[in-house]
Symmetry: C2
Subunit: 396 residues, 2 copies
């Protein structure tokens, strides 16, 4: 039947984007494996049954190159039609790594989008430059911390937020475990913490931002984002692994939200846990996170309590900054068991255009959070060669 | 400061749910690693800095047991407070596997929810029994296929759908790559394919259902689901790995949608690609998928073009059927390079309460789709010991 009917594929443009995979495959297998990806990610149909030449020529992926990397390792570059991905992030992710995610020995290393496809996405609303403008911090890495531990009352957490802001922390984010639990309800928490940070800002003259966690049920993400803005929040924390990548994209695109976004890596660990499968660190925490609208991407720093290597962290930094059509660079935000004592090393590695996130350790030594924050800031300033901030008499 | 303030944690109930992890850890490390999960998944705060006893006692996870499985392998059961997970699927997933997903050598094997927590979720609207009622098929596995290849026009795809329904396929789902591309727009596709299946049903007297793919941008999933129902669709296909787990839950819970859901594994492969990390097959494709509202869970069958083992498939079947408070059992739906020739083996392994999904191979031999479908059905009937369906003179 199908052979005699005009195929719709003929209307498709021939513009392509490129996905880069590393394959566990022998020299003999590599080209069959690459061709299998071309089919699997598009028609998902047996080669010999593809009904028309137009589908074969215009829908199916094309092998752009196969390069041997080592014994049983090959890099395949596959060119997929832009029109197959269309304008939806869900479908772009599907073409990049939908079914092949389930096949053994395929790792998505990255992708290259022509401007015509990349420009279908706004990406980060602020990016590095926009976020610096909001915070009016130009000469050093941004400082961030997390509101925790869970179990304190909103009032107690607000006291922490106040002190963090007084101490000069730029981005004060919720712990990603603070959702809308009965003991720390979203509206009360956001009201109190926004007010506390604003109060500190009036005292310091700084522009610290409180970023509540808007990781939430599908129908409440946008609602919480808009509510948070009304209540005076200065940004959002969202975990795309839990809420969905496109939920983050939707918030970033929404003019009624319009605040900076930090993305959190919760539930994403499996993507990078095997070097032979999943998605490479830069592609996941850099490219995809950026395309999906985050202004800063939190990921586990090397040498902390997680397991990323120094090269994997470098890959993320590179992907945050590499050219990507009109999509702005975003901040890498290393986190996870970081300590003030490592500031010099972190600044040397991540440079000025990063967000340094210290959570629990900022409470050490216990007793004077404001002093701890200032120590953090001055340590960063010292490491990057910027003079200490002048004390203001009214900032406690 | 915090030590002198009353902690909110005191208001939390002591009811717990249990998560089961396999750890790559020596005998000496196992208990520290388990304790680390207790902290990481709740307070995410250094042990010695936890400000109150109430937080330590009521918020932090508890080690219920640690059992040695083998050299450097331990099973840890951790009991987390029900109130920390609250009533949101995003936060439950976060407690189960948020940050620990990023730590090396931790695999989530499954979880046990008390009725009070499980009952906060509707789970599948239909489940096995409800789906059988809708289709009026009681005595055999359900038959399913996919509408493809991408690149044919909606009209051509509708012709396939018509023939599949005429041939007696119960669940005729979109290929998950059919989104809302310019060459196969959602509304036109769903209109034509729903009409085609309905026309075939009038001829056969059967109740075949067409399930369009509603994997879509965050703000369009529910809209497409409702539209599809208006246009006559008989169910939904959704890929929670792309759209978000809670997007599927939201559709299942929505009375204005109210159709059966098949979940698709696209983009989920990394979760199971390493036996030492990620989430076990049954927990992911069984427990989580079920909790998130699917009525049938598609996964790659063993021995096809993907890589699941026979034991991994068995784990999924078990998790689809195991008691889970008031949440109904769902259909395992093995797929991926399946062939009619394997029907007997598949029926023996998966039993009557399964959905057998044959995609491309149902087009083989080319030429008579209706006959191929009948061969599939009769092969299943033969394997399960049910007589062949009587031919109706008006069914072509």
């Amino acid at each position: 039947m199908a052979n005699s009917m005009p195929a719709c594929a003929e209307t498709i443009s021939d513009e392509r984007f490129t996905a880069i995979y590393h394959l566990t495959a022998s020299d003999a297998e590599a080209s069959d494996r690459a061709w299998d990806i071309c089919l699997e990610q598009t028609v998902e149909f047996p080669d010999d049954l593809i009904p028309t030449r137009a589908i074969r020529e215009r829908i199916v992926g094309r092998i752009a190159s196969i390069v041997k990397l080592g014994r049983d390792r090959h890099e395949a570059r596959i060119a997929f039609p832009v029109d197959v991905a269309g304008g939806e992030l869900t479908q772009l992710l599907n073409v990049l790594f939908g079914n092949v995610s389930i096949k053994p020995g395929v790792r998505l290393m990255g992708f290259e989008l022509p401007a015509s496809l990349a420009n279908r996405y706004r990406g980060p609303r602020f990016g590095q430059r926009g976020l610096r403008e909001r915070l009016d911090v130009w000469d050093r890495p941004l400082l961030s911390t997390a509101i925790k531990p869970m179990g304190l009352s909103p009032k107690e957490l607000a006291e922490f937020a106040y002190r963090f802001a007084l101490g000069g922390i730029d981005l004060i984010k919720d712990d990603h475990g603070l959702a809308n639990q009965s003991f720390v309800p979203f509206r009360e928490r956001v009201t109190r913490l926004s007010e506390a940070v604003e109060r500190a800002n009036r005292e310091t003259g700084l522009r610290s931002a409180y970023l509540p966690n808007i990781t939430a049920p599908a129908d409440q993400v946008l609602e919480r984002a808009r509510l948070a803005r009304e209540l005076g929040a200065g940004g959002y924390l969202i975990a795309p692994g839990l809420a969905g990548w496109d939920a983050m994209r939707r918030v970033a695109d929404d003019d009624a939200c319009g605040l900076p976004i930090m993305s959190h890596p919760a539930f994403l660990g499996a993507f990078t846990s095997s070097p032979l499968a999943g998605i490479a660190h830069g592609a996941l925490y850099g490219q995809i996170t950026r395309l999906a609208g985050a202004d800063a991407t939190i990921f586990p720093n090397y040498g902390g309590r997680f397991a990323f290597s120094i090269d994997e962290c470098r890959d993320i930094v590179r992907a945050c900054n590499a050219p990507m059509a009109s999509i702005a660079p975003i901040f890498p935000a290393p986190a996870g068991g970081m300590k003030v004592e490592r500031t010099r090393e972190l600044c040397a590695f991540y440079g000025r255009d990063s967000v340094l996130l210290i959570g629990g350790d900022l409470h050490r030594p216990a007793g004077d959070l404001v002093a701890n924050c200032r120590r953090f800031e001055n340590s960063v300033r010292g490491a990057i060669g910027v003079p200490p901030r002048a004390e203001r008499p009214d900032s406690e």
